[in-house]
Amino acid sequence: MPYQFTVSPDFGPDQLAGWHIFNTWLQRQLETDIHFETFDNFDSQRQAIAKDQVDIIYANPYDASFLVREKGFVAVATPQKPDETTIVALAEGPTQSIEELTPGCKIAQTDDPDISMMGMMMLEPANLDSNNTVLLPQNSYIQVAKALIQGKADIGFFLTDAFDSLSTLIKGQLRSLVTSDIQVVSHALLLGPELAARKQELSQKLADMSNDAQGNSLLESLGFTAWTPMDEEEMEFMIDLIEALAA
């Protein structure tokens, strides 16, 4: 049985192509069969994780916390790029700032847990929370954008990278109200218990990836410039942060 590799379902098709190539790289480096599995949403991915069907994962910070604490995964490396959240409204709409938003505000969001958490956190200055807003779940960031453009939602929560990679045509109809500047929270590549013993080896190979042209080209297709090895304490720190934010 090959090992299973998956990525957090917050990436568009363009970036998934890069992760397919990364999977080939992983197989060569670890000299083992690895199947790249994609999931349409967080729920189906979580079901696979619950059934121990995932061995390697590029996880968002919220899920990484769960995987390390509850499922025995170990963090190997993070990209040199923090995760940030952008709250977006219609460009031609009435809302110019977060503090103008009022109770009853309709929010389009995916089921990306950390983006939802950060988005709600950035609404606190307007005295808004899950009790006085209406959440409109969407299957993808494109759908979040459509809900705004069609006037179904007042604001939308985006992973900043996902907002930045929207087409010019769509982005031109939207306005960023606020982008987080958290600096210290990012996705992480994790190994499940069966591969945990290979952490050091993989961590070194990932760190070396930016030292050659082929590696750099692959990194570019993933949307960042280098991997930084992540030790246990750094992961624990990120888990503490997520816990503090979820409080």
């Binding site: 982008t179 500047d181 958290i182 409080a247």
Partner: protein, 157 residues
């Protein structure tokens, strides 16, 4: 911890002596200048079990007005504003030392004597069942909640 220096202060100030939880004292110089909390920023720091700062992020440096070298190793009380009641910090320490999360609205003192309000969460860092330090995360508060906190703190010791 060193007393505040008049040469660092922007504008008119008043002088107060703070009595800290550990028995130490600090002379602080305070102005009425508020620095608005920037949208989307998160201030993050970690301390050891004695409350001495071991890590801080760029937003901590920017909002406090200190250089990072002036922050690391200092007690977190470096940011303590005299308008904050001692009872609030006693509650904070008791809560986190018992292994629980604390959150509340805090008026922080800047190096230049000004202040900024935050919504703060402090959690114990538990490793192998033992508290090894604390992580504090501050975010932009609602103005309505700040007004409520001002009123509450005015009636506390």
């Amino acid at each position: 911890m060193q007393d505040m220096s008049p040469s660092d202060i922007q504008g008119d100030f008043r002088k107060t002596t703070l009595n800290h939880y550990d028995g130490s004292q600090r002379v602080v110089l305070v102005t009425d200048n508020e620095t608005p909390y920037p949208e989307g920023k998160l201030i993050v720091s970690r301390t050891d079990t004695n409350g001495n700062i071991t890590h801080c992020n760029r937003s901590f440096v920017d909002m406090s007005g200190y250089d990072e070298s002036e922050i690391i190793g200092q007690p977190h009380a470096l940011l303590r504003h005299p308008d904050m009641p001692a009872a609030a910090f006693e509650d904070l320490w008791k809560t986190v030392q018992n292994g629980n999360k604390w959150h509340g609205y805090v008026k922080n003192l800047r190096k230049d004597g000004g202040y900024y309000w935050v919504y703060a969460t402090v959690i114990p860092n538990v490793r192998n069942g033992k508290i090894v330090g604390y992580t504090s995360v501050r975010r932009k508060p609602s103005r309505k909640k700040v007004e409520e906190a001002i009123s509450t703190y005015a009636n506390m010791s």
